[in-house]
């Protein structure tokens, strides 16, 4: 399969182990916990109706999903009426072929790219390169992961796993035509260097590819939300603009989008509004000062229709803000690359198995403490822990969970269903633990619990369970 090159989700545990001992990564991750969570809380606190807006956002998405066919058709009609082209792609392969065909008919050699998670999902950069076309990411974070041949580690902060020192080293490694003694020690000088490199690409690109945060059915418009302005230069300067979107990006009206934008920026970056919110409707019209000659929207399915009719439908409400990963203790510990594909964190733990198959992402829905912080901050109220639990149920049904876990669970469940027998078994267990406990107040090693005792002590018990002690107390009263 096409995603195989970048799919390391099956090695989640090994990825995690590596991430936990990577000092540079750990220092980079520290920034998420200390910065964005507090800033979001402060921004949200300034908007008393934020929770009401979240309900509203959920309702808009639910309504759209219930009538998705109608709104997609409306979008298509309006987009065509404005002179745009709409292409549906059932699979990633189809979407790639459509991009390539458009690029070829434009004789494209250089393609600039705004940030697009669908672009990552279909691995468009690798594919264009294989076909002799050079893609250049223009979002700074995406540019960094591109020159490092990595996937983004976060859906809105692609290079959040990197430190300033790593970026300096990468720039010196790749931009060899620049003076070696230049200062790259400051954030500002790094930014200036990226700007110099990218400015030239913007002006010479043949095709610009962007994502879409939303597609508006009533006007046939695509919207991108950015902070660097690179998206605008990507979509207005080249001759051809390709929008990579997916079916659940459509919303009915401009009014709906303005509601969604209010929760998106606050949830994503703690901004009241992003720096640029750009609406594109069709190609350049007569009299427009700029804009592309051709405007294409590719709408990808890639498993989403199947989600629509099943247990994971609510995941299609996701507006890709990243708040779930910003608030996830597991993500904060291991970073996004550990999840082993395009979408990390809690939303990835639900979405990735839907796209690549649960057999390729077994650990993702399991590697959660179910602390519920993701659901608590989700702007469209996706019950992420419940959806992860549904994946665990599928794994259990399909015997995909590890044999040791299954047999341990089976023995325990056998007892738990028989409280009398359970009492006998647990009395024996507690007696054993309690007798050894007479010598030690806690254990540094326990058989069958080494996952626990490798890192922490385990307390000894008393000689009798509470229920046994209670029974004795009731008898003697």
């Amino acid at each position: 399969m096409a995603f195989a090159a970048h799919l390391t989700a099956p090695a989640f545990k090994a990825n995690a182990k590596e991430a936990l001992t990577d000092a540079q990564l750990q220092s980079a991750l520290h920034g998420i916990e200390t910065g964005i969570v507090d800033r979001r809380r402060a921004t949200v606190a300034k908007l008393p109706e934020f929770d009401a807006l979240r309900d509203c956002a959920r309702a808009i998405k639910n309504h759209t999903l219930a009538h998705l066919d109608l709104y997609l058709e409306q979008f298509e009609a309006k987009c065509r009426a404005a002179g745009g082209h709409v292409h549906y792609a059932v699979t990633a392969e189809e979407a790639r072929a459509q991009v390539l065909e458009i690029c070829r008919s434009a004789n494209a050699r250089l393609v600039t790219k705004g940030k697009s998670m669908i672009g990552e999902e279909i691995a468009i950069n690798d594919f264009l390169e294989q076909n002799g076309i050079t893609p250049v990411e223009t979002d700074l974070g995406e540019y960094l992961v591109q020159i490092r041949h990595e996937l983004p580690s976060h859906i809105i902060m692609p290079a959040v796993h990197l430190t300033k020192e790593q970026i300096e080293a990468d720039f010196r490694r790749v931009h060899t035509h620049l003076a070696p003694e230049r200062n790259l020690a400051e954030h500002q000088t790094l930014l200036t260097e990226a700007r110099v490199i990218l400015r030239d690409r913007f002006l010479s690109a043949d095709v610009g590819i962007t994502g879409a945060n939303f597609l508006i059915a009533e006007t046939g418009t695509s919207i991108i939300v950015t902070n660097e302005g690179n998206g605008d230069l990507t979509q207005t300067l080249p001759r051809v603009h390709i929008v990579l979107a997916s079916i659940e990006k459509v919303v009915p009206t401009l009014e709906d989008v303005s509601q969604l934008l209010r929760v998106l920026a606050r949830s994503a970056t703690a901004q009241e509004m992003s720096v640029y919110t750009t609406f594109s409707t069709g190609p350049r019209r007569a009299g427009d000062p700029d804009g592309p000659n051709e405007y294409h929207v590719i709408i990808l399915d890639n498993g989403r229709t199947a989600m629509l009719g099943g247990q994971f439908r609510e995941m299609l409400r996701c507006i890709r803000c990243g708040a779930c990963m910003n608030h996830c203790p597991v993500y904060a510990a291991v970073g996004g690359h550990t999840y082993g594909w395009v979408y990390p964190g809690p939303m990835g733990a639900v979405l990735t198995p839907s796209i690549v198959g649960i057999e390729n992402a077994r650990d993702l829905p399991n590697a959660s403490t179910f602390c519920g912080r993701c659901e608590e901050v989700c702007p469209v109220r996706i019950p992420l822990p419940n959806l992860m639990r549904h994946w665990r149920e599928r794994e259990f049904e399909r015997h995909l969970s590890p044999a040791t876990v299954r047999s341990g669970l089976a023995i325990w469940a056998y007892l738990a269903k028989r409280p009398q027998l359970y009492a006998v078994a647990m009395s024996l267990f507690v007696l054993g633990l309690g007798l050894i406990g007479k010598l030690f107040p806690r254990f540094r090693w326990l058989p069958l619990a080494t996952g626990w005792t490798r890192y922490r002590d385990f307390p000894a018990s008393q000689l009798q369970t509470f229920q046994a002690q209670w029974k004795r107390r009731v008898r003697t009263q």
Partner: protein, 262 residues
């Protein structure tokens, strides 16, 4: 009846509501003191306590994707606790399972949906039962020293338990509460998570241990024994002197050795 000076609405013996104590398996096995503390607090709040034969709420099966076993265990719990006016558990996690997830398990099941809903309506986590249901506003306990309180996730996010334990702790004589940074962030326990992903769990609890130690508090309190065992075990492994106890023990004035101590 009102021997510890607690408010006991409807204090006549014959009017006392019957509470079935859901002990929770960890308290049953590892720390009976929490169970006895719960009994004392519930009795002081004017209720009669009984402990029907029980095993577990079924959460380990539920979160491992074994829905059939979970339903078998849940239906047995619902039946065992049907005679009582209330079901009370000294754990936000188990109470969350009973109150939030049991109704989901039986949704659309003609035979069980109504029984699950009735069970859900009368089930409470211990501290919220005391404060929100029995209107307890103070306890007659003494505890010399400083403590910090960790908000366990299920209690906090599924049941809204945040103010209640702090309100009662404020009435414990001699106790100084010192809030830790990120008290509402997960400790990394997560039930079976901590043994399925021990490396990640360790990274999370190590961070939590730093925040606990940074308060300088002598005692760590929380409302869930699983989280407490995780944090206590980590603090002990790191050589920290912080003592961990269930919040009910302090509120009930029960003086058992701290978790993993003698």
């Amino acid at each position: 009846m009102n021997k510890d000076g607690m408010e006991t609405p409807g204090a006549l013996a014959q009017e006392r509501p019957r509470v079935g104590l859901f002990v929770t398996c960890l308290v049953d096995l590892i720390r009976p003191a929490v169970g006895f503390a719960a009994v004392k607090l519930i009795e002081d709040a004017g209720c009669a306590v009984e402990v029907p034969r029980q095993s577990c709420c079924g959460q380990p099966a539920y979160n491992s994707g074994d829905r059939a076993s979970t339903r078998a265990i849940a239906s047995q719990v619902i039946a065992a606790f049907e005679p009582y006016d209330y079901v009370v558990a000294p754990s936000g996690s188990c109470a969350g399972m009973l109150k939030t997830h049991y109704p989901e398990l039986f949704a659309g099941d003609a035979a069980w949906e109504a029984r699950a809903a009735a069970f859900c309506a009368k089930t409470h986590e211990l501290i919220s039962f005391l404060v929100d249901v029995r209107s307890v506003s103070k306890v007659a306990a003494r505890f010399e020293g400083s403590a910090t309180y960790h908000d366990s996730c299920s209690g906090l996010r599924e049941l809204g338990i945040r103010a209640q334990p702090r309100r009662l702790l404020a009435t414990v004589e001699g106790l100084a509460l010192k809030e830790m940074h990120d008290s509402d962030v997960c400790c990394g326990f997560g039930g079976t998570f901590c043994v399925k992903y021990p490396d990640i769990s360790n990274a999370i609890v190590a961070k939590k241990a730093e925040h606990i130690a940074a308060t300088g508090a002598e005692t760590l309190l929380a409302g869930d024994l699983g989280c407490l065992m995780n944090m206590a075990g980590k603090l002990q492994r790191l050589g920290r002197r912080v003592k961990a106890r269930h919040v009910a023990e302090v509120l009930a004035g029960i003086d058992a050795p701290a978790i993993g101590e003698r």
